[in-house]
Symmetry: C2
Subunit: 450 residues, 2 copies
Amino acid sequence: MGFELTKEYLDEVFDAIDRKDIVWFEQHLFDLHDADIADLIDELDEQQAAYIYALLDDEQQADVLTELDEDTRENLISNFSSKEIAEQVENLDSDDAADIIGELPQKQIEEVIAHISDDLAAEEIVDLLNYDEDTAGGLMQKEFIQAKLDWPVNRCIVELRRQAEEVEKVYTIYVIDDMNKLVGFLSLKRLLFASPTTKISDLYQDKNIISVKTSDDDEFVARIMEKYDLVSVPVIDLQGKLVGRITIDDVVDVIIEEAEKDLQLASGISEKIESSSSVWRISRARMPWLLIGLLGGILGAQVISGFEGGISKIPALAFFIPLITAMGGNVGVQSSAIVVQSLARGNDQFGSILKKIGKESLVALINGLLLSVIVFGFAYVFDSKTLGLVVSTSLFTVILFAAVFGTLIPLLLDRYKIDPALATGPFITTLNDVLGLFIYLTIGILMYGI
Amino acid sequence: MGFELTKEYLDEVFDAIDRKDIVWFEQHLFDLHDADIADLIDELDEQQAAYIYALLDDEQQADVLTELDEDTRENLISNFSSKEIAEQVENLDSDDAADIIGELPQKQIEEVIAHISDDLAAEEIVDLLNYDEDTAGGLMQKEFIQAKLDWPVNRCIVELRRQAEEVEKVYTIYVIDDMNKLVGFLSLKRLLFASPTTKISDLYQDKNIISVKTSDDDEFVARIMEKYDLVSVPVIDLQGKLVGRITIDDVVDVIIEEAEKDLQLASGISEKIESSSSVWRISRARMPWLLIGLLGGILGAQVISGFEGGISKIPALAFFIPLITAMGGNVGVQSSAIVVQSLARGNDQFGSILKKIGKESLVALINGLLLSVIVFGFAYVFDSKTLGLVVSTSLFTVILFAAVFGTLIPLLLDRYKIDPALATGPFITTLNDVLGLFIYLTIGILMYGI
């Protein structure tokens, strides 16, 4: 691995920009991979970024543009005329071009498209802009190679050469019928080793054609490509016509983004943010969850105040409030995390809800028993046998409830088409807090006979 | 998309197995994709699985074997002799073969390898078994195409044909020098459109060669392939010699497993488990985190008992205990999640620790102020101005502390080479619980002047 973006390299870049030392950049920048140049530009301020970007040649500019962080790209592009943007995106694959144009204001989108000199390219981009970015249509590109059933091999090879610019990324040739419907595929290998006059219809494979529809969810596309180990997948429209192709690199990005989103939801963060996002944006993304937590705390305060008499008689009851709420939250999150993951992988065709809850209850039974024994011992020594009994009985009950809720809630959310990952966040912890308090204090006043 | 594993299909399979209806399987099973057959077998009991597996032809058997869940595969293979296993893995790519053989007991590994008829294949597998499964060496396969610098194009094409079985998966030809060192690469496109006598040395690209070392961590490999949008990456040894290749499908699995592991750690689950794992295994995986939570609760009980006098005088102090602990936990997890994600993406070359803590403190300041005002209003109306002041001041303080700890702890864990994802779990919540209680009750007795 060649390049690593070090503090030292960045300092040299700053110096070279100050000196306007083009020779330095020729020696130390131009040979870097586009992704590395983009990483570097992401670290610069707006003027520095514009300076370096201007040094690159047309093709490198376009490739770097797609690799930049969204914020950096927006800043950079804001200095370009619509004509300049059009010139840059013409060097890109249709999906990357559509992604960049799609980020512009509506009025500028039309201007940029009007400036694209290649009519076919413009048409493809307009088509791609129609799709929701979270669908297969939003992920697909128009660069793919298709062959008709009745073509001979040599015509297919001519076609391959014609689209030579794209061949580096050809993994499979898609075979279509007269109506442009996808009927099968052909590997490069079979094509290259066949005689020139063989018909495609005698060569192609029609078994196990895996395709996705333009309207399919991007997570579904990711699951399909992962399951069948695909590097590209054809996209068809409602009529079964071949309209595009999705390559694995875009799907890897989807997988990573989904994973980050799930982890953020589980951690109580509601928007996609990064550690480089602004303070205001980070605050806003976290606020909804904190408000849920606050509301839970306020409800908890009301529950406890309902037992005020009991607590003033036996203040020791208050000692174990945090233990009960914490354990309820922990168990609930554990149970929901497993359910959320198995839902995310689409593994759940056969798991009936009752079976899952039964299993989680068993796990809760085992762990609950063990933990209750430990906590009984502690509370006994620490205070009294009665408190030991109160705390251990309530802990056991709370763990059971938390496990059942933790399992049930993501399943219910999923059934009503709400992202089940919501359940792993502060939501379930808060619910279990309130419920746990109620169980604990009720058992407390019953056992103490207050 | 053709196939979906429905309850109805599964019932038909059960029936067909009972009837031993081979014709049904010919019509409804054999044409399915290997991954779908594997999904089906994963749902069957041991005898049913063995029955269906035996119906498949040799090649399909091998492909299905790699797609099965580890547990199912283990059960299935336990019925095979070493010779039978050897016959099956011979149909596989070297990395898949090594993965399956690596799961066997040490004694059987040697037997299976002795039964592999192709000496070269056996040697490759033995070589792959040497590498840790979490490294590039453990991910790589021996199937790749290399060309020497001084070869002409036609020799290279002969080589391609010779390895025709693998050509479907050839994305790039790697170019090596006399010492077998990787010096560059060649796309299929350039090879196919070049004249037969052109030397590889005149065709190949030596700019931006991206490779990984056998000892590189699998997460590093995933990051590289994602960053540079690669479908395959060459693997070199310590001397720079080309020894293997990693394809994107294996890396997608790494990315998904890592994401699941991070989410499980954040949810307090310490081993890789699935909703299909046994009750005992699930219980065991969760226990360590619950014990940490319990310990935190016990410490919390001790902190509160230290303030017993205060609470018996002002029982209302107990009302807001859950609010304080819950909010400290929530804020801590939010802060640590962002740090963990940016560490996971290796985005942290320039972020100094102080800068990060400063930013998190600012976010905490904004959110803390807002939440404190809300909670002051509530506690004032609910009880008294004094309690309002106590709760809001402590909430504000706890949020600030939780943000700083939430940022600091994953950074510290990372510095000491411990997985920072540990910090997003119950660990940080527990710490913040105890700290929060102490802050709250101290402020309480100070303000009430007890």
